[in-house]
């Protein structure tokens, strides 16, 4: 039976408490600050992100600790993903700063909402009951809805925000409905008890599967997998680029954690059922994402469809369902987020005041204007296409090898066939940068931005040459969290 919580449990919550307090303090400080460039807010936010990341690392545990009456779990898996999300949000703030300043969009809300969003991700990553899962998800989603609408005078942004909000609310509703059915079937909100009750066979299977369908549909909405992907391209295009970057990176890590907690840890007894649902989602995403991306001229929309296909690939690991597959999925999600964020970082380096570099045509002849950034973008694109020597290849290798070991050779063949189509549109970006001529101006992005983007992109190559440490971190985290 679950015991009531005591104050010792709070020690496991240090990163979350720190984030909550610092977000509130930054919110108040920002009210009194007169600085248009928000230097204090910026540095304080980065500092609090850094400290949160350190607290996550310092609070690492060997075996999973279930606290707060079974509502919350702290394990290696949550530590890894929280650390990753904190880094990604930090990068978003660094990359996006110039963009916000140029468009006088730099308000304190950007920082506060980012921090609250990250708090939501932390809660999602560590949640161990339906209630905490849902709470984290909503905290994240509400922050993101508001951030998409930051540009109040832009009709595209408002439309994107409305779509995001309405579809997101619908998905949350579905998720809640599914959760309530599972609660009805098992009589518990705690994932460990749900899993135990189902394993005992005291539940009605029909009820269970019906609830599961709603839960998977809700998850698919949040991940942006086909056929629940309609919002993704519009939101990616409509949102200000740094916000798109935020939506496309860190929340994907939280979403993976969400799926793992809910399906792998909460409903292992229904594995066969959700496995077949995930296969459908994954195949549809890989096919639609890759094919639709070909037709896009707007690079943000292209990256949106590419995200859809990457989410399909990421699900492949979960289809395998064992520890190796879950580790492969987490590795894939981490690689994907860090690749995407460097792609968006380069995109942001090319934007100017009053000039969005959304269009593919704006990459024309980049190699003449800024050879270094062109080389970095080349690495990002080849990493996304999964060409070896870049880490994206090893991400693909690990998920494909996970499903091949479960006999899904046809799925592997299908996945690689569509990644060939994917290669086409990534190559088109390279073609535009390297083969076309352009009359656009020389790029003069801030040096610090260039530095961070370069380190980020070079990491893709370094991690591709020495992937072992990263692979084993993921494998260890999963082994210690799921088995321990």
């Amino acid at each position: 039976m679950i015991s009531p919580w005591n104050s010792a449990d709070l020690t496991f919550l240090k990163p979350e408490l720190w984030l909550l307090c610092s977000a509130c303090v930054i919110l108040l400080l920002d009210l009194v600050s007169k600085d248009q460039r928000k230097a204090v807010t910026h540095w304080l936010s980065l500092l609090s992100l850094g400290i949160a990341a350190i607290l996550v690392l310092a609070g690492g545990v060997k075996s999973p600790q279930i606290v707060f009456s079974g509502m919350y779990v702290v394990d290696q898996l949550s530590g890894l993903l929280k650390f990753g999300s904190a880094c990604l949000v930090g990068l978003v703030l660094i990359y996006g700063r110039q963009y916000f300043i140029d468009r006088s969009m730099l308000t304190g809300e950007v920082y506060v909402l980012s921090l609250f969003g990250l708090l939501g991700m932390f809660v999602m990553t560590s949640a161990f009951s339906f209630l905490t899962l849902y709470m984290g998800l909503e905290l994240l989603s509400l922050s993101l809805y508001a951030m998409v609408a930051l540009r109040k005078d832009d009709s595209l942004a408002i439309e994107a925000s409305m779509k995001y909000f309405i579809l997101g609310a619908l998905a949350s509703g579905m998720l809640l409905y599914g959760m309530s059915m599972l609660y009805g079937a098992t009589g518990s909100l705690h994932l460990s008890e749900v899993s135990a009750r189902i394993a005992q066979g005291q539940t009605s299977r029909d009820f269970l599967v019906l609830g599961l369908i709603f839960i998977v549909a809700g998850i698919a909405f949040k991940l942006g997998t086909v056929p629940f992907h309609m919002w993704v391209p519009d939101v990616y295009q409509g949102a200000p680029t740094p916000i798109t970057m935020l939506i496309g990176s860190a929340p994907k890590l939280a979403a993976v954690a969400f799926v793992i907690r809910l399906l792998v840890q909460g409903l292992p007894a229904a594995f066969v059922d959700w496995q077949s649902m995930l296969i459908v989602l994954s195949v549809a995403s890989i096919v639609v994402g890759n094919v639709a991306a070909i037709a896009q001229q707007n690079i943000k929309r292209m990256l949106a469809y590419s995200t859809i296909s990457h989410m399909g690939f990421m699900l492949l690991g979960l289809i395998a369902g064992d520890a190796g597959g879950v580790a492969a999925s987490i590795f894939y999600a981490l690689v994907y987020s860090f690749t995407t964020i460097s792609g968006f970082g380069i995109l942001l380096s090319l934007t100017r005041t009053g000039f969005e570099s959304d269009n593919l045509a704006n990459f024309k002849g980049l190699v003449k204007r800024s050879p270094w950034l062109a080389l970095m973008m080349l690495m990002v694109m080849f990493s996304m296409a999964g060409i070896p020597a870049f880490v994206g290849f090893f991400a693909k290798l690990s998920v494909i090898s996970a499903i091949v070991s479960h006999g899904f050779v046809w799925l592997a063949v299908l996945a690689v066939a569509f990644s060939l189509i994917g290669a086409f549109y990534y190559l088109r970006v390279v073609k535009v940068m390297f083969f076309d001529d352009s009359d656009l101006d020389v790029v003069d992005s801030p040096f610090s931005l260039k530095c961070f983007v370069s380190v980020n992109a070079l990491l893709l190559l370094v991690a591709g040459l020495i992937p072992q440490p990263f692979l084993s971190i993921c494998a260890d985290a999963v082994n210690l969290s799921l088995l321990g």
Binding site: L378, L397, V404, V413, F435, L471, A475
Partner: protein
């Protein structure tokens, strides 16, 4: 030094490539050129001990290096060359050196990028030939697409974008299936080691085999990956486009080296890993090879573009290689066929590089590849005409040139299998002579055809050096084939032993 020789051969060009990229500026192209010529020369010198220190009687991999790379997948940094691969590492380093010299004055835009791309690619190709681990092979095999894509796309002809994309996607299509089959084999054997793959399923009483169905599916994957690279009929259509649009250096490397990777893949993977499937379906590949030899030879006859003509003749010549590889007598590949295939690969490396370089020499002066724009070149460029004649003769397989050795051996092998195969292959000697010499006649002989030809000047010192080195190689290999074949025997024997094994085993052999 010697124990890490292969690593040096792989990473030296890559290091210099990155260096050129780092220090090269468009304002001062000379720096980039000097560094690249030094890097390429050093790479070639480093590769020479492979030949001189090679132990002829040893059939397995030599100069072995073994380090753990990715333990999570049991992928090792496992290098080594045997008789099948050693020559291509040396040949590649040699051709890269020539390519750097060939591009000395011709390339004027983004010089440092051009040389860097070639140096990096050279290292990657060396890596692919030297890999003893399938995933390492795959990584090099794929990664080399990136520099080649850029070389064709940036420095190529008018339709370069189309050609580069077609090249990349065609080759990627084949190799992605290769990836899946490697992963499948890894799941069966627990390792990516090529030797383990080759041993897997051999019927020796301990391990029960590999079913014909699995072998056939693997063969299909291997076939797509390597046939596209060779290229074999009917997946050859990317090659003429890529060649025509690529700069001279790109065509040289493409024809001389990267095509060989496809044939090498057949020898290294298809024959030893799926011997029963090859026995069962090899005859289909023989038929496709014959079609390539005869039909593509006929296509070459009607080309009006010199580069396209040589590109089609490459496909036809590579048909000999695949023919020699897949000719089986009583379930065993022939010695003549395999050695002929290897000799043909080496010879074609010299001859095709030389042919493309000759066309590049003409193109740099006239900016046209149309045969009709030329005529009477011999009157203005006598030295060039002499070299070009030698290479044309080698291209049609004249005895005493390198082209003769391989074709002769393959036809000898074919005679043991089926008279009509030998007959069909022999026809190509006539067709080959027809298209090559006819082109030579129209370009070089006759009266001076146009004002452009009137103003031609003969080869300069740099071009003379490249042509002379290639001429010595072509004649040397034709007159002293033993220098090459002596190193092949042991490895070919090993390969024949592996390919003659049976893997079709009892039920339940696979996990």
């Amino acid at each position: 030094m010697l124990e890490h020789l292969l690593s040096f051969i792989i990473w030296t060009p890559i290091f210099f490539g990155v260096l050129v990229l780092a220090v090269g500026r468009d304002q001062r192209p000379a720096t980039a050129k000097v560094i690249s010529v030094f890097g390429a020369g050093l790479g070639f010198l480093l590769s020479l001990p492979l030949y001189f220190r090679f132990q002829d009687l040893h059939g397995g991999p030599q100069f072995v290096e073994l380090l753990s790379w990715i333990p999570a997948f049991n992928i090792n940094y496992h290098l080594g060359v045997d008789g099948l691969s050693m020559f291509f590492v040396v040949l590649n380093s040699f051709i890269t050196f020539l390519v750097v010299i060939a591009g000395w004055e011709v390339i004027t835009s983004r010089v440092s990028h051009y040389h860097a791309a070639f140096l990096v690619m050279s290292g990657l190709i060396n890596g692919a030939f030297a890999s003893q681990d399938a995933m390492l092979f795959y990584a090099f095999f794929e990664a080399m697409l990136i520099p080649m894509y850029l070389i064709i796309g940036v420095w190529g002809g008018p339709r370069r974008v189309y050609a580069s994309l077609k090249f990349f996607l065609y080759t990627l299509m084949g190799s992605l299936l290769l990836l899946v089959s490697f992963i499948w084999l890894y799941k069966q054997t627990g390792s990516f080691d090529i030797a383990t793959f080759q041993r897997f399923g051999v019927r020796d009483g301990l391990v029960a085999g590999m079913s014909l169905k699995s072998q056939t599916l693997l063969l299909v994957a291997f076939f797509f990956a390597f046939a596209v690279k060779v290229p074999m009929f009917p997946v050859h259509t990317w090659l003429p486009d890529a060649h025509v649009e690529a700069p001279t250096g790109g065509s040289m490397v493409l024809a001389a080296i990267t095509l060989k990777l496809g044939a090498y893949g057949f020898l290294r993977f298809a024959l030893p890993i799926v011997p029963d499937a090859v026995r069962e379906y090899g005859s289909i590949i023989v038929v496709l090879s014959l079609i390539a030899i005869v039909y593509v030879g006929l296509i070459a006859l009607v080309q009006t573009d010199m580069k396209k003509l040589v590109a089609y003749s490459s496909i036809s010549h590579m048909g000999f290689v695949t023919l020699g590889t897949f000719m089986y007598v009583d379930g065993v590949p022939t010695v003549y066929g395999l050695e002929g295939a290897l000799m043909q690969m080496i010879s074609h490396g010299f001859v095709s590089a030389a042919m493309f370089f000759c066309i590049g020499v003409l193109y740099d002066r006239m900016h046209s590849r149309k045969i009709a724009d030329y005529g009477g070149v011999a009157n203005r460029m006598p030295i060039f005409a002499a070299f070009f004649l030698l290479f044309s003769m080698a291209n049609c397989g004249l005895p005493a040139t390198s082209g003769f050795v391989g074709e002769f051996l393959v036809i000898m092998g074919a005679l043991k299998v089926q008279f009509w195969i030998a007959f069909a292959a022999g026809i190509t000697l006539i067709v080959g002579a027809a298209y090559t010499l006819w082109m030579y006649k129209r370009v070089v002989f006759g009266a001076v055809g146009s004002e452009g030809v009137e103003s031609l000047v003969d080869v300069n010192f740099r071009e003379f050096i490249v042509l002379a080195i290639l001429a010595v190689s072509v004649l040397g290999m034709g007159l002293l084939p033993g220098l090459f074949s002596a190193k092949l025997h042991s490895s070919v024997d090993t390969l024949i032993y592996q390919a003659s094994q049976y893997k079709v085993g009892r039920e339940g052999g696979e996990k």
